[in-house]
Structure formats: structure tokens, C-alpha cells
């Protein structure tokens, strides 16, 4: 069913020297503490991380609950902020598609799409045979997902010991880690330009529409980078 060798190879990738385990764990510690302060109990906090497993979406949900937003508003706000997962899935799954693998593996493992697991897979997929990449991916996803759940658990029970300065320190970890990973991944003109334009255009579009800023920044920046890269090649 799932190739154990490649599953555990993927699972162990979280132990690598440059793994996102620390950053990811710390961010979910902050989420666990935040959810407790919002009135969630431990079951709800764990349930939230297990089912959502996307940091910005959890933050948006927490903020929406705080201001008493309706369920439709929560749905739309989360969908906008997590719409980035669509291009992330489309730019990852073709690398793992193999005719001998059952479809359910792809549909089941799409839940693991998150920045940390995506970046690990993107930097390691070439070293894995194509047929086994989906099992390797499920291993990576299971590992990062476990870290998120453990982080939430620790955060929930240590919230009383986390003062504001510590919470700020935990909150900045994730963007800095991802920023470094993105800079590290910028090896071609297309990717470098995508990262640069996305980082510039995202905040600019925020002034036009906070909800659409990430998507607009991504689509406009990514498309310009794509055409510049293609022109450069030709």
C-alpha cells in the first residue's frame, strides 16, 4: 500500500540539520497558546490543527472569531488567505504522479500541502524515484503534521508561561524561516523573480484589497516572472 522505506525516509527528513521542525513547532506553540486565550479547550485546539494544518488560516479563524464574524465570513476569509495552496498543489503533484500509484494517495495526501512540507519536497524530489515520491511525500507530510499537533499541545498547556515578548519571538520564527528557504530556493531567474515580485507586489496590493492582496501579488508577480524567464531562455 505505502512503501515503508520511502515513507520513513520522508518522515526522517524532519530530523535533517536544515529541517523546519523547530520553526514549525514554535509557530504552532504560539497557535496553541493563542487558541487557549481565545477560549478553545484542548480538544478543539488539537482538532483545529489536525483538520486545518495551515498557520495563516488558523490565525484568520482566530481573529474572525474574536470579532464575532459569521461562518460565511470565516469561510471566505480563510479561503482567500489559503488560496495559495492551489498553485502550490498544482506545482507539486505533477512531480509525484505515477500511473502505478492509486489516486486515493494523492487525494488523501493533499491535506499535507503546507509551506514547510512543500519546500522540503521541492528541494528533495529529484533524489527519489518517481514511483515512490508520493510515499516519500506522505512521510514528509505526516512528520510536519505531527510536529504541528505536538506544538499546539505544548502551546496550549504552556500559555501561562508565555509572555508577550516570547509570543512575538515565536510569531516571527515562521516568516523568517520561510523567507530564508525561499531565498535559498531562488536558483533560477524565474523563481528568483517570482519571490522578489511576490514580496513587493503582495504588500502593494494590500492597499487596494487586503483580502485579495496575496492572490493578486502571486498571480501578477508570478506571471511577470514566468514571461521574463521564458524570454530569457529563448
Amino acid at each position: 500500500m505505502i512503501n515503508r522505506e520511502f515513507f520513513f525516509k520522508g518522515y526522517k527528513s524532519i530530523l535533517a540539520h536544515d529541517s523546519p521542525a523547530i520553526a514549525l513547532g514554535c509557530c504552532f506553540i504560539a497557535i496553541g497558546a493563542l487558541l487557549k486565550n481565545l477560549g478553545f479547550n484542548i480538544q478543539e485546539s488539537i482538532f483545529s490543527t489536525m483538520l486545518t494544518y495551515a498557520l495563516p488560516g488558523s490565525l484568520v479563524m482566530a481573529e474572525s472569531l474574536l470579532v464575532g464574524a459569521s461562518l460565511l465570513n470565516i469561510f471566505l476569509a480563510v479561503w482567500f488567505v489559503n488560496a495559495r495552496l492551489y498553485p502550490m498543489a498544482v506545482s507539486l503533484f505533477p512531480l509525484m504522479m505515477h500511473k502505478d500509484q492509486p489516486k486515493w494517495k494523492y487525494y488523501f495526501s493533499c491535506h499535507f500541502i503546507a509551506v514547510s512540507a512543500w519546500l522540503i519536497m521541492k528541494s528533495n524530489y529529484k533524489s527519489i524515484p518517481k514511483e515512490q515520491r508520493i510515499d516519500y511525500w506522505i512521510g514528509i507530510g505526516s512528520a510536519t503534521w505531527s510536529i504541528a499537533v505536538i506544538g499546539t499541545f505544548i502551546g496550549f498547556f504552556s500559555s501561562e508561561f508565555l509572555n508577550k515578548d516570547l509570543m512575538m519571538g515565536l510569531a516571527i520564527l515562521n516568516p523568517i524561516y520561510f523567507l530564508c528557504m525561499m531565498v535559498g530556493a531562488s536558483k533560477t531567474i524565474q523563481i528568483s523573480l517570482s519571490v522578489l515580485l511576490g514580496a513587493i507586489l503582495g504588500p502593494i496590493f494590500y492597499f487596494l484589497s487586503p483580502e485579495w492582496s496575496i492572490l493578486l501579488g502571486g498571480v501578477v508577480g508570478g506571471t511577470i516572472a514566468y514571461f521574463v524567464g521564458e524570454l530569457n531562455v529563448s
Binding site: D18, N41, T52, Y86, V90, C180, Q190, S194, I214, V219
Partner: protein, 107 residues
């Protein structure tokens, strides 16, 4: 569990899973060597960069209480640590947390 919180969690997870699932389904016909795949790759990196920039410049939650200067200082110093440490991901990450806590305490 309070019903409102459970409904909020279910709605949040559905909104999140929708993008993931649609991405997995629509990538079935896309070859990794195609131009469409390359374009989506650019979109993914640009969208992530936009998200990171927005998280730092227009944060939600506790980070919004930190001043712009302290956030920018942490980003610049962490990138310096990243390049000095020969692109190690762990050192700048840990450094950023310590730096943010210290800067916020004193400025």
C-alpha cells in the same frame, strides 16, 4: 465543545482543504515539463513570497504590536545571519526569535 467553535473549525478546514483538493485534482493532466506547470510554479513561489511579506509588513495577531522598525531590523539581521552561516536555515530562525524578543523588550 462549544458549537460555534466546532463550526468555525469545520468551516476553516473545509475552506483550506478545498484549495488543496482542487489543486490535486487539476494537476492530474499537467506534465512536469509543460509550460503550464512552470507558470504554476512561478505563481506558487510568488504567492508564498506575497504571504511572507504580508505577514511581516501587515501582521495579524501578536506580531502586530511590534514596531515596523523592529520587524524590519529582525528581517535584515536574520538574512545577514543566513548568508554568514552559509545558508543554514536554523541559525537565522532561532536568531530571529531571540532578536525579536529583545528588540520588543527594549524598543
Amino acid at each position: 465543545m462549544s458549537a460555534n467553535i466546532v463550526y468555525a473549525i469545520l468551516v476553516t478546514s473545509f475552506a483550506t482543504f478545498l484549495s488543496r483538493f482542487l489543486g490535486a485534482v487539476s494537476s492530474e493532466g499537467i506534465k512536469e515539463t509543460s509550460k503550464l506547470f512552470k507558470w504554476f510554479n512561478c505563481l506558487a513561489y510568488a504567492t508564498l513570497a506575497a504571504l511572507i511579506a504580508r505577514t511581516i509588513i501587515f501582521p495579524v495577531g501578536v506580531l502586530s504590536d511590534a514596531s515596523y522598525m523592529s520587524r524590519f531590523a529582525v528581517v535584515i539581521l536574520s538574512l545577514i545571519v543566513f548568508f554568514v552561516s552559509k545558508k543554514n536555515y536554523v541559525y537565522p530562525t532561532i536568531f530571529s526569535a531571540v532578536c525579536m524578543a529583545i528588540l520588543n523588550n527594549y524598543f
